[in-house]
């Protein structure tokens, strides 16, 4: 306790000693002062380009263009800023320096977004964001010219969320492109973005997106206030924020959803959820999130409903298998042999005869080996990774069995589990943890242990909430109307209401059935459902 208090005090002290960078200092009318200040702020960075120019001729005003190389679009700067400034201004005379800035903005510069800025700090920030800054001597204001342009990744399909049918585009690292991708999906004035800068040092752009009219305003306010409370040094990925704003930071279950797909995001917004975009990452968080969402794939909505239902059930089964198969095998194999049918028992027994370790140890050991192989396969370059998997899976497994270290059934169970784990990628982490948890419990108490684990997880899940929505809904508490997208994937025309607990402010999506789709509501309903 005391140690904790002491640490807290020290942190507060440190905060006082290192105040944040000088904010809101005014710019000076003197060009050289400004330039020096900027140089001092950014250090002797070679990528800071200072291009001195002279504007006008009669009273020629000296000025300087500043930008950071690599963050700007060279073409824009040359064509739309430098050349009009240098060429178009030769004939101009008698322009007093007071009106010069205004004049330049209105008649000379042909870039889009231009902003006058009298303060120092925003100027530096703008420079770092890829804007070009124009200082004129004698002006205590700078012009911020939107010239952002840098090398960016093309829009391609996210690796983590592959689908067979449907749109193959994913978000990129650029927040502007991402918001644009979303706008392309939802052409509706109700789509609002709210931007803020988070990360004391990285000043990362974070945007909240929601559909006005469908979203519950309280939810937006809650998201806003939780984001405002985030006091963090750096934001590199959506998860940096997720861990701050999640309802249950200690739970292994994700209470903030994430996706890399614009179509999924659009569908979630249309159900009344809020999305959080973070600049610099293709991952978009959506809240509130439910457990069942992890089992839904965009493909479910791109395939016929009967097939989608069928596949979804396989996903449920796979997850249960991935979590429980080793535990059940351990429980049956070392506690409840009477529950195995006799012929199967004899087969398993003959395969495990002479193995030196208890089944739990075998299972945990082989599970660990598998995790190592998987991790190595992910980290290494792709061709090498594949080799690793083959060597790992085949050679190690085969050798372990022939050497009599582990029984062949163990390898089979681990292999099935391993594959089943990947069917529900959203719950990969929880799945692995739960598997270990259940395996150990089964090793100690057999089926009783598994039951204890299940009850514990059930209690935990029922007490979880994600932004006020019970995590297990619509299963617990049961809302039968919402099971249309949980137990089955109902035909799209039959999914006429949004999830009750999330989209209750505007429950109806579309009239039931194939009716004429002239109305606004009907068109909204066409976006496929992701949640």
């Amino acid at each position: 306790m005391f140690k904790f208090l002491w640490r807290k005090l020290r942190l507060a002290h440190l905060r006082k000693k290192n105040p944040l960078p000088r904010m809101y200092r005014e710019l000076s009318p003197d060009l050289e002062v400004n330039l020096t200040a900027i140089r001092r702020e950014l250090g002797a960075s070679p990528d800071l380009i200072i291009r001195r120019i002279t504007v006008g001729s009669a009273p020629a005003t000296t000025g300087a263009l500043l930008y950071i190389d690599g963050l700007i679009d060279q073409q824009i700067v040359h064509r739309d800023i430098i050349s009009p400034l240098l060429n178009g201004e030769k004939g101009r005379k008698g322009q007093d320096s007071k009106g010069l800035l205004e004049y330049l903005v209105r008649q000379v510069l042909s870039v889009g977004a231009v902003k006058k800025e009298p303060k120092f700090e925003p100027v530096v920030q703008a420079l770092l964001e890829g804007k070009t800054v124009l200082f004129l001597d004698g002006q205590a204001e700078a012009l911020l010219l939107a010239t952002e342009g840098w090398e960016k990744r093309a829009i391609n399909e996210p690796d983590a969320e592959r689908i067979i049918l449907g749109p193959h585009e994913g978000f990129t690292e650029n927040i502007r492109i991402n918001t644009a991708l979303l706008r392309r999906k939802i052409t509706n004035p109700g789509l609002h973005f709210e931007e803020m800068k988070l990360g004391r040092r990285t000043r990362t752009t974070v945007a909240i997106a929601y559909l006005k009219g469908i979203v519950n305003e309280k939810l937006v306010a809650e998201v806003r206030s939780r984001l405002k409370r985030v006091n963090i040094d750096l934001v590199l990925d959506a998860n940096y924020l997720n861990e701050f704003i999640s309802d249950a930071p200690f739970s292994i279950f994700p209470t903030v959803g994430f996706t890399e797909r614009p179509d999924v995001t659009a569908a979630k917004l249309l159900e009344g959820r809020v999305a959080i975009f973070v600049d610099g990452t293709p991952v978009v968080s959506t809240v509130p999130v439910l457990l069942v969402e992890s089992f839904q794939s965009p493909d479910d909505y791109n395939f016929p409903y009967y097939y989608a239902t069928f596949i979804r059930w396989f996903r449920y089964i796979s997850f249960v298998l991935a979590v429980l198969a080793p535990a059940l095998f351990v429980a049956l194999g070392s506690y409840h042999q009477e529950l195995i049918p006799t012929p199967l028992l004899i087969t398993i027994k003959s395969a495990t005869e002479g193995t030196p370790f208890p089944l739990v140890v075998e299972m945990v050991m082989m599970g660990a080996v598998f995790e190592i192989i998987r991790e190595a396969g992910v980290r290494l370059a792709r061709p090498v990774g594949q080799t690793i998997s083959i060597v790992g899976a085949l050679v190690v497994g085969e050798a372990a069995v022939t050497a009599g270290l582990v029984g062949a059934p163990t390898i089979i169970v681990i292999a099935i589990t391993a594959i089943a784990t990947f069917v529900v990628p959203d719950l990969l982490g929880p799945g692995i943890i739960l598997r270990l948890f259940f395996t150990i419990l089964a090793g100690v108490f057999g089926a009783y242990g598994i039951l204890i684990g299940l009850l514990f997880i059930l209690l935990h899940l029922t007490s979880l909430r994600s932004f006020g929505v019970p995590y297990l809904s619509p299963l617990v508490p049961l809302s039968p109307g919402d099971l249309k997208d949980v137990l089955i994937r109902a035909p799209i025309w039959a999914m006429r209401t949004r999830p009750r607990l999330i989209g209750w402010s505007q429950p109806e999506r579309q009239p039931f059935g194939f009716g004429s789709s002239g109305t606004e509501e009907g068109e909204e309903g066409e976006a496929e459902d992701g949640g």
Partner: protein, 363 residues
């Protein structure tokens, strides 16, 4: 205290789980053999009567739980004494369920494991659930009772080929007094133990639906118990009378094409999950009631020590199953009647006698 709210539907399911509780594998009154369904029916009637009594009392003091009612009716001192009696009753109910639970596990699956090793993890999750409040208990109950009822319905299909309706005959071959006594036993336990819900009724969000929810739950539980015990007797015949756990045993006989066989985990699962809810509710009522007794602001910290007490009680509840059976045969009907008939009647009578003035005083 607990701000959680549950819906009437959740209350129904809670009443069902609580009533099914441990009775599902260790039924009393199986001495009446094939007439078990009749006994459950009569018992259900008795249970409904007790519930009526409780609900009448509750209607007089809406929004108040049993302990608050006691204090309103008898004043703080005698009221607290009455509440203390009920605390003991809850403790014995919870401890008894826990005791049966350990006996069951020890005589079927975990013969070598010491009692404590089985009890401690169980009590830990019960405490965990209890501290999360009634809302979480009610919610986690939903899938459990659904699973139980589902499994029992599936069992009907599973035993179709070995079920002999003849085994439910003859009808009423025992003297009626015997059947009435057994029915009284069933009315008191498990149906009468529902008096514990007097602690939970104020937590329901739509008060006008409370009575329907309680009756619905009792009837549902009665049906489930009737089905499962009739199945057991229909499959086992008179052997059911000599078995300690007839429901468990009849699942062991199921053998469908050598694939669906060795299904004894089903009754164990039903029993454990239902018993889990029952013990959790007992602990909740105990912790909540104790907190109320001492005018505390939160009941949560009490879950741990009372959980420990439950554990101790569970180990000293009965020395053997036969003793337990004898207790249920001879004492429990009177003992239970005291708590689900006599005490509520006294309370109701006093409330009626002291009449208006009291009622107006009650906010």
């Amino acid at each position: 205290m607990d701000q959680g709210r549950i819906s009437a539907g959740q209350l129904t399911l809670l009443v069902m789980s609580f009533t099914i509780g441990s009775w599902i594998v260790l039924p009393t009154g199986l001495q009446s053999g094939q007439n078990i369904w009749l006994i459950i029916l009569f018992g259900l009637g008795g249970g409904m009567f007790f519930a009526c009594l409780g609900l009448l009392l509750y209607r007089r003091f809406p929004g108040k739980n049993l302990f608050e009612i006691h204090e309103l009716v008898f004043g703080p001192v005698i009221g607290k004494f009455f509440s203390l009696l009920y605390l003991w009753f809850f403790l014995q109910t919870g401890g008894g369920t826990l005791g049966v639970f350990v006996t069951m596990l020890k005589s079927t699956v975990f013969t070598a494991t010491p009692d404590l090793a089985l009890l401690v993890p169980w009590v830990i999750i019960v405490i965990y659930g209890c501290r999360r409040g009634i809302e979480v208990i009610a919610r986690s109950n939903q899938p459990l009772i659904l699973a139980t009822v589902g499994l029992i319905l599936i069992s009907i299909l599973l035993v179709l080929n070995i079920f002999e309706a003849d085994n439910l005959l003859p009808f009423l071959d025992k003297p009626f007094s015997r059947i009435a006594w057994d029915a009284l036993g069933v009315a008191v336990f498990p149906f009468g133990q529902g008096v514990i819900f007097m602690m939970i009724l104020p937590r329901v969000n739509r008060q006008q639906k409370v009575a329907g929810a309680v009756f619905g739950g009792l009837i549902g539980a009665g049906l489930v118990l009737m089905i499962i015990q009739s199945l057991a007797v229909g499959v086992l015949g008179k052997v059911a009378e000599v078995l300690v756990f007839p429901t468990y045993e009849f699942y062991r006989i199921i053998d469908i094409a050598q694939v669906l066989t060795r299904l004894e985990l089903i009754p164990l699962l039903n029993f454990l999950t239902m018993g889990f809810i029952k013990i959790m509710l007992c602990l909740y009522a105990l912790a909540f009631g104790t907190a109320q007794l001492f005018n505390l602001r939160t009941y949560r910290p009490l879950a741990i020590p009372i959980g420990v007490l439950l554990l101790v009680v569970a180990r000293r509840i009965f020395p053997s199953v036969s003793e337990h059976m004898r207790y249920f045969e001879e004492v429990q009907p009177y003992y239970g009647l005291f708590f689900c008939l006599v005490l509520p009647l006294i309370t109701l009578g006093t409330a009626l006698l002291r009449g208006r003035a009291r009622r107006e005083m009650a906010p």
